[in-house]
Symmetry: C3
Subunit: 345 residues, 3 copies
Amino acid sequence: MQIEIHEIARQVGGRVCGDGKRVIEGIKSLEAAEPGDISFFADTRYADLLQETRAGAIMVREEVPGFKGPQVIVANPQVAYARVAALFQRALPRYSGVSPDAFIHPSARIGAGASIHPLVFVGEDAFIGDDAALFPGAYVGARARIGARTVLHPNVSVLHECIVGNDVIVHAGTVIGSDGFGYVRDGGRSLKIPQIGIVQIDDGVEIGANNCIDRAALGRTWIQQGVKTDNLVQIAHNVVIGEGSLVVALTGISGSVKIGRGVILGGQVGIADHVEIGDGAMVGSQSGIMRSIEPGEAVTGSPAMPHRQFMRIAALTARLPQLNERVKKLEKMIEALGPSVKGRT
Amino acid sequence: MQIEIHEIARQVGGRVCGDGKRVIEGIKSLEAAEPGDISFFADTRYADLLQETRAGAIMVREEVPGFKGPQVIVANPQVAYARVAALFQRALPRYSGVSPDAFIHPSARIGAGASIHPLVFVGEDAFIGDDAALFPGAYVGARARIGARTVLHPNVSVLHECIVGNDVIVHAGTVIGSDGFGYVRDGGRSLKIPQIGIVQIDDGVEIGANNCIDRAALGRTWIQQGVKTDNLVQIAHNVVIGEGSLVVALTGISGSVKIGRGVILGGQVGIADHVEIGDGAMVGSQSGIMRSIEPGEAVTGSPAMPHRQFMRIAALTARLPQLNERVKKLEKMIEALGPSVKGRT
Amino acid sequence: MQIEIHEIARQVGGRVCGDGKRVIEGIKSLEAAEPGDISFFADTRYADLLQETRAGAIMVREEVPGFKGPQVIVANPQVAYARVAALFQRALPRYSGVSPDAFIHPSARIGAGASIHPLVFVGEDAFIGDDAALFPGAYVGARARIGARTVLHPNVSVLHECIVGNDVIVHAGTVIGSDGFGYVRDGGRSLKIPQIGIVQIDDGVEIGANNCIDRAALGRTWIQQGVKTDNLVQIAHNVVIGEGSLVVALTGISGSVKIGRGVILGGQVGIADHVEIGDGAMVGSQSGIMRSIEPGEAVTGSPAMPHRQFMRIAALTARLPQLNERVKKLEKMIEALGPSVKGRT
């Protein structure tokens, strides 16, 4: 694909400095770009790469004096990058229509324009929305609903009755609607609590690869609009995650946790059951959350504490050997004061 | 489905206070219940919900004065809830018989009443027990054995020679019998140690979604009767997990670890290789276990220590800034005592 | 299978003490071995097992006085064990040729001797190398390349354009080429950054079960020759892992991390984005890496520090109650010195 710089500028709402007719054939990082590529500069940590790049053009916030090719000046080069990358992205290969080698229950309904690959299974009374795409190995259980334009990547399992909204992306290997981990002790054995609720995933959500989202014991596990999860995330029964929240890889969210809007959970975070995380809170990687977190709080650590306190305590912990020496020295000094001091305590 | 209260009471071994003829159509939480539903009260943290619930009936330990509908008095409302939820649970949709679109090796034996969906693969000399159910994407390798009434959810892989007992549930995406992580350094490269053992899973076990249970290097990895694992659990080669133990999500158990009966491992726990965990021990979430744990011990932390000690040390760690200030103040005081003190040390 | 001891000795480059004609039928651990088995002794922690074993023969570094059967003396019994286990290992059951029940796009090319099981999907313009084996549920996307002799276990997904080298093993349920977790805030919502790069996996790599390896945003995520990963490992976009490095289970590696050669990452490690880990570094289990690590360093902890310092600080942390008591005692002693001291500060 070939695009002229002025067309790129138009698409990202930018202004051209230099030759707007220059033809661009791809987008690459500053390090990897060749003269036919456009690149972008957004992270000041990498300012020196600007001097060395072979890119034919760049998208930047302010004009770069030394750069020889055309520049596109934009308010947010990262957003511009996302938009230009979309121009150069090859469309996912879609099976055209419903493959005769997919297994679709006669009672299931398939929307117009849906792409159903071979080796897909769609169960009784399930519903697949218009223009949805189901890749090989995707499983949609009985009475489950998949929204319009939603993509289920290979080997995704959406179990019975679960609801996936419109414009959702579910990456490969993810399981939606497995049973929650619920047992009650009954005469020395673990009696299974039937998990008869569902998972509901709202519009515009993206779920990473090999996630597990358990169905509710009763009611629903609910992933609200625009939530994004990374890979290998565990979401237990009856969890609610509010609009636009982000969950990084290998994080585990226990049963009935309520997470607000715009929350960011770092990687490998663990959250105890029934805890609430307020809107806009941020949880550092590897934190362990035992108690509810107020809106807007930034916490880290296991058990978690305010992020600044964590940083201070981490520094003091690293100096424990010195603290120990200081106390030893004091002890010697007091010792040196002789029996008079000790006698008085 | 409709059941009268006296029938529910009979099924859970309870006593009715109020109208035993009241018809119930579902079970919901106290918050979500409507007049046609029964609910239950087991967790005293939610006592105020009892006053507000719209539930038509409740299961409780002792009669609740303010509640207007019929009450079922039971010794354990949680157990009663599990039993009543089972009454209202819809059966899993089962394929009737063996689908012609499953791939069953001619030498494999399939028990009476087994449900084999399309897109299932059963290898050479494998055995599937009576009334077992294999969902689409399930893979059973050569010479593997799946017990009676066992359910393999979609996209589960049970590799060659592994043995899964009766009444086992394996949730979607789980892998049983992958190679253990075993290499030996040989002239600067990692030589693979062939993993020629198996996985044996005993009766009544439930394995969560996207688990990995590695086959033994030699001998067997052994998950004993009634063990329950949550999602995304890693069980390495030659691990033994004793009867009735519970393993919460994202926990990793290294090679040759021996876990006793009735052990509870919290979420995101890591256990070093060859460690033993005694019967009835409890390990707090995110703990790191480097040494063997005695029966009945409750430990937390990384490295783990007795749970009470962990709580005390977590509190002291959070007060390190104050401790540091106290030592500073002592230093100033000693300093103020002048050269006489310092001279004597 | 039956092998005489002198033949085993020949294969492992060892020397026989005792009856070289003894016939061996299997290899087992010292504990499990029967008179028909050979075993091996490599780990001095288990020296007492040597006295009790029923093994018919053993492989050892030095002759064991008490043992009655033939002994094979080798420089490295662990390497010898790996080689002998390979002799007794049953070959993986391979489908002979390309199953008519696999779905191969007409434009895909399949190498000579490749084993393509039923229920495999190979997309447009994909390439499968000679003697490769694809198990049921394996998915190979458009334009992806799978090398010679490479094995994709059941339900593995290799997405479009990704490159897997020769002699690679990918265990069941693993996803290669899912989208990286990349968004940019754009007017209050998360705009997806298209992930238009690939994953490249070099020769001789082994990837555990249920791993996730994300495609690069731009360019490639690169797993170099001989790398081995355990189960449930997360590798984000644009990560590079150098030759021969080992990654233990449940570890998460964030975007653009560069890992050198011969690095060992323990289990449940987390590494922040853009960090570099030098050649030969070792990272202890459950560590959190926020800053780059020098070649050869051994670090542990979250945040990580040199391993020895970590051990010392862990010991001091466990004695915080005592340190607190010591400071209290000093405070009392100083208090006892009376107003004269306090007046001077």
